[in-house]
């Protein structure tokens, strides 16, 4: 009897090992990308969290899109566009013969439906709050031209970035259909979705820029940790966002391509103006000059980390203001002097960080050490993101806080955070000149003029020490040896369509 059981067990295990070959080959043709969390919704534009957008952007296309090479917006489903009526009207001419994933041609009716959907103009159920405020009307001019009108009182020169974000979907499709089976015109078609587990996408052969090389991709929920690195090394996942530890491990393997770039995310040490000592500019300057930024870069950097001087990363080269680069160099003696002058030679405050973010907690330790050298004693208070978001980010209840602020391709959206009445003005910064310049930039449709204004704002933020700007840590991603050519974006997007198969390029 015992022998029989053992024989059956051995036969079964052998069968399983031989049977797995087909499954493995089927699976190995699929690129597997780990993601941190599941999605609230996979319907286009419905879930606004970055974790969802970085995936869902592969399914959808807009009229214009951000080009990571030129770092500018370029026409996408639209062949060209014009801005008229001083920014009130946008006229888009569609490309010929562009298709949705269901094979249907994209028409101006679809554009009208998509914009009316996000604004909730007909349904009263807006998908994007911003569009609910902005959209005046969408008119079909002829069979390949469409006109989008923005309400006069809220129009802004950065509306084109909002337009780029609207996913174009087939007219008449219901929210229910979009939730379960989303259709778009992006490089990847929807195949399968298991909530909290994975989403599988397949290359769209009729994509207007040509079919992507990676034919199938699975985004799988797989939290960060030792397991993820082991799975990557074992060839089970093909993509790995790197941190300091995993970078050191991965760098040893010469077959693995590491893509590094500036991230356009800005690590900021926010000093709340409602905390009395921080109302004194000398104190803010002392803190800035007491932090040894070079030591931070040396110890915590990824390959492209850069020190910052304002809330703008050199990622957006054209807009970045170079002249502020020499401001507030590390000088603990000067810091002590400034603190003495301001009457705060012994200062205590609490620095709130996000407990889940290892990097920021490491950063906090470096800052604590540096500040202790000039007589400032800080208490680090790590709290979970769920608490940080309402209390610190929205409620501004903190003394000092560390935050990695997400970058956008639109400088207006980045710098708007320093407008007096803006809800996410974390440091409660207020400068009438900055407010006026932001308003002026919003009404300026001349690119060069806008750039000059944004540069001026950066000079003012630096002069006022609106916050202590630390670093853009940059991003580094490892691709398994089969793939190459991944491109990074200044916002949440894992663009699989840019990834090429190595063998095809030899």
């Amino acid at each position: 009897m015992k022998k029989k059981i053992i024989t059956t067990l051995i036969t079964l295990s052998l069968l399983s090992l031989s049977g797995c070959k087909d499954e493995k080959s089927e699976e190995s043709s699929k690129m597997i990308i780990p993601i941190k969390v599941g999605f609230n919704s996979i319907a286009p534009n419905t879930d606004v969290s970055a974790a969802t957008k970085e995936v869902i952007r592969n399914i959808n296309s807009g009229l214009v899109k951000f080009d990571p090479d030129s770092k500018k917006l370029v026409p996408a489903l639209a062949e060209s566009y014009e801005i008229e009526n001083e920014g009130k009207t946008y006229i888009f001419k569609l490309r010929d013969n562009i298709k949705f994933h269901n094979g249907k041609n994209i028409t101006p009716e679809d554009i009208k439906y998509s914009f009316e959907r996000v604004s909730g103009i007909n349904t009263g159920r807006a998908i994007v709050g911003e569009w609910n405020k902005k959209l005046d009307s969408v008119n079909i001019l002829n069979d390949n031209t469409v006109e989008i009108n923005i309400k006069d009182d809220v129009k802004s020169s950065s509306d084109i970035y909002n337009i780029a974000d609207v996913s174009i979907i087939p007219a008449g499709i219901s929210e229910d259909q979009l939730e379960k089976n989303p259709i778009g015109a992006g490089p990847y078609k929807f195949v399968e979705y298991i909530p909290g587990q994975k989403i599988v996408l397949e290359a769209f052969d009729d994509y207007y820029l040509g079919a992507p090389e990676v034919k199938e991709v699975e985004f799988k929920v797989y939290k960060e940790g030792a397991g993820r690195l082991l799975s990557f090394k074992n060839g089970e996942i093909d993509f790995l966002p790197l941190n300091l530890e995993s970078l050191k491990e991965i760098e040893k393997d010469k077959n693995i391509e590491i893509v590094s770039s500036l991230g356009n995310d800005v690590n900021v040490l926010y000093l709340n103006n409602s905390f009395k000592p921080f109302q004194n500019k000398n104190v803010r300057q002392a803190i800035w000059q007491a932090i040894d930024m070079d030591r931070i870069v040396k110890n915590l950097s990824l390959p492209k980390t850069e020190k910052l001087y304002t809330h703008m990363s050199p990622y957006l080269k054209e807009i970045y203001e170079n002249s502020v680069k020499k401001s507030y160099p590390y000088n603990p003696e000067k810091a002590k002097e400034l603190l003495r002058e301001s009457g705060y030679s012994a200062l205590n405050f609490t620095l709130t960080t996000i407990s889940e973010n290892t990097f920021e907690n490491d950063l906090a330790l470096f800052i604590k050490e540096d500040l202790a050298k000039v007589g400032i004693d800080i208490t680090i208070n790590p709290i979970p993101w769920g608490q940080y978001l309402p209390e610190v980010y929205k409620g501004h209840k903190y003394e000092a806080a560390l935050l990695r602020v997400a970058g956008y391709p639109d400088p207006q959206r980045i710098l708007q955070r320093y407008e007096t009445n803006y809800s996410s003005n974390m440091s409660s910064y207020s400068n009438e000149e900055v407010d006026n310049l932001l308003k002026e930039a919003a009404q300026t449709y001349d690119e060069q003029k806008k750039i000059d204004i944004y540069k001026k704002i950066q000079i003012l933020l630096n002069k006022d020490i609106a916050s202590v700007y630390l670093i853009d840590q940059g991003v580094s991603v490892a691709l398994s040896s089969k793939y190459t050519g991944y491109k990074t974006y200044p916002f949440a997007f894992i663009d699989v369509s840019t990834i090429k198969l190595k063998n095809n390029n030899k």
């Binding site: 797995c20 939290k223 978001l389």
Partner: protein, 317 residues
């Protein structure tokens, strides 16, 4: 009648647990709407979501509304997975946790009962003392550490099993089985030493009791004494341990599911807590409370079967 009483008190327990979880969840810092919308939240969307999920209503209204729904067999809609109901989500994760639980339990019982018996029978030998120390080390090692060692051996070195859990019974049944081997092995390795150690100690204690001496003096066969008396009586306490392990497994082995990226109930519960998805957390807690009560019932029944004294004691009362 006794069982009817128990069923009634179980429902009261479930109600109280649900209420406590509801209150605890409410007192946790954070806002479910902001947790869902993140930094890009917009007042219009915030208001719509609060309205859609009745978050503007007072706490007691929400709780009793939820209770009423549950009585009608509806656990509500998940807050963080908009187009899915809580029941759909639990169903989608149940099978993975269930297979892990059952298989681990079978392995634990099949391996640790003979192992514990052998250890007890030979506990005076030096070699077995060494094994006992070894088993003590075995249950002190955290499961995630065992998982990493197993991944290193079976995945990285031997390339036999995946590190990453892929569960898709329709498309990849064999990959699904292979994905579950390491998690089950990890859990079994961490639980077998515990049960066998416990059984061994209990048997040693039992064998020094008077009735065993009497049996021996009567000249009863040694292995008969072990099988019929010592093992049988020692199993009573082991069943309690196995019951506890079952509850631990059924509630989802959060750490192991995370290490192997397995879509089980443990990870679902964590997601619910992180996203402040109260309908989801309430639903899973309800399921867990129900399972714990059910397991306790089953343990009670097994006690009765194994030890007639318990049954008789109850009858007398």
């Amino acid at each position: 009648m006794n069982y009817l009483k128990k069923i009634f008190s179980s429902f009261i327990t479930i109600f109280i647990v649900s209420l406590i979880i509801f209150l605890l969840f409410e007192s946790l810092p954070g806002d479910p709407v902001l947790a869902r919308l993140g930094v890009e939240s917009d007042p219009l969307l915030e208001a719509r979501l609060r309205d859609e999920f009745g978050l503007n209503a007072p706490l007691y209204t929400r709780f009793f509304k939820w209770c009423f729904q549950v009585i009608n067999g509806n656990l509500g809609k998940s807050f963080s997975y908009s187009s899915y109901t809580v029941l759909e989500l639990i169903k989608s994760r149940f099978l993975t946790t269930f297979i892990i639980t059952i298989t681990t339990l079978i392995i634990v019982i099949v391996v640790s009962i003979p192992l514990g018996t052998i250890l007890a029978k030979n506990h005076k030998r030096k070699a077995f003392k060494f094994i006992k120390v070894f088993s003590q080390i075995g249950f002190s090692i955290p499961a995630f550490w065992i998982a990493i060692v197993l991944i290193y051996i079976f995945s990285l070195k031997l390339k036999l099993l995946p590190t990453l859990g892929t569960i898709n019974w329709n498309r990849y049944p064999i990959t699904s089985i292979k994905s579950l081997i390491l998690p089950i092995l990890t859990l079994s390795i961490s639980k077998v030493p515990l049960v066998s150690h416990y059984l061994c100690n209990s048997m040693i204690e039992e064998s020094s009791k008077d009735y065993v001496r009497v049996a021996r003096s009567k000249g009863l066969n040694q292995s008969e004494i072990y099988k019929r008396h010592i093992l049988r009586n020692s199993l009573i306490s082991v069943i309690t341990i196995i019951g506890m392990i079952t509850i631990y497994l059924i509630t989802g082995t959060i750490v192991i599911e995370n290490v192997f990226a397995l879509p089980g109930l443990g990870t679902l519960l964590m997601e619910g807590i992180n996203r402040k998805d109260y309908p989801l957390v309430q639903g899973i807690v309800l399921y867990i409370s129900f399972s714990v009560i059910l397991i306790n019932f089953i343990i009670d029944i097994i006690y009765n079967i194994i030890d007639p004294r318990i049954r008789k004691g109850k009858e007398k009362r």
